[in-house]
Symmetry: C2
Subunit: 119 residues, 2 copies
Amino acid sequence: MKVAPPARKTLDQVARYADMFSAMGTEPRLRIMQLLLSAHPAGLVVGDIQEEVDIPNSTLSHHLEKLKSEGLVNVRRESTFLRYTANTEALQELLRFLYSECCTRNQALKPEEIIRICK
Amino acid sequence: MKVAPPARKTLDQVARYADMFSAMGTEPRLRIMQLLLSAHPAGLVVGDIQEEVDIPNSTLSHHLEKLKSEGLVNVRRESTFLRYTANTEALQELLRFLYSECCTRNQALKPEEIIRICK
DNA sequence: TCTATATTTCTGCAATTATCGAAATATGAA
DNA sequence: TTCATATTTCGATAATTGCAGAAATATAGA
């Protein structure tokens, strides 16, 4: 008996989450996300990030472009500065997805292993 | 005033989580993880996975190698078959890390946006 | 106002590195 | 040996990195 293949829409969703994971899938970019979350909601300008990551500025710029294009960060200009902030809606979606896959849709992990329920 | 840089150990941890995100950072590999979680704890043999993912078998093999090398799956031989299973310990670590960064260490997201607390 | 200069960050391109897939190889069972 | 399952090898294609230069904005001085 053949099982129905996953809906197109579902596969698109998975592809989108995969792209987000990929965006967080290098040490510099994951570190950048940590910094932006620490500075949330104010965010950081590029120069502030630059001081923390020890990579050339053009490389940093490429990394920020990647995070932006996958929707994990937002940017706005402040005169000559560009201020980056974590996109919490996107992170929430991604975290819910991972939590759901591991703990809800399948019961591979127990919720209480991740989070203290009812402190 | 200068802030102390992150400890070496901490950066290594971040690099490891980044590698795990990278391993889940393509549609086929994320799909494979979904399949293995759905089939947990029994797991699946390569042929079973092959039927679901519509990619050449050599490519599938490369993807499985990547997931294995980042510790997201375990493998054991069953005669001529290789049976892959999700490594729930690794997934738990990764999920805890992401949850912690978003909801605990920084309060960028509210826990109740991810999980129903106290059903 | 116009020009020059300084500051911040991005973009273009070339070298390196990683990924994909066809063909060949390995592994185990009968 | 032969068949079935899955990996490994290796060349072609694509992505990443970082240097050099450009773009955007602000400010000062003529």
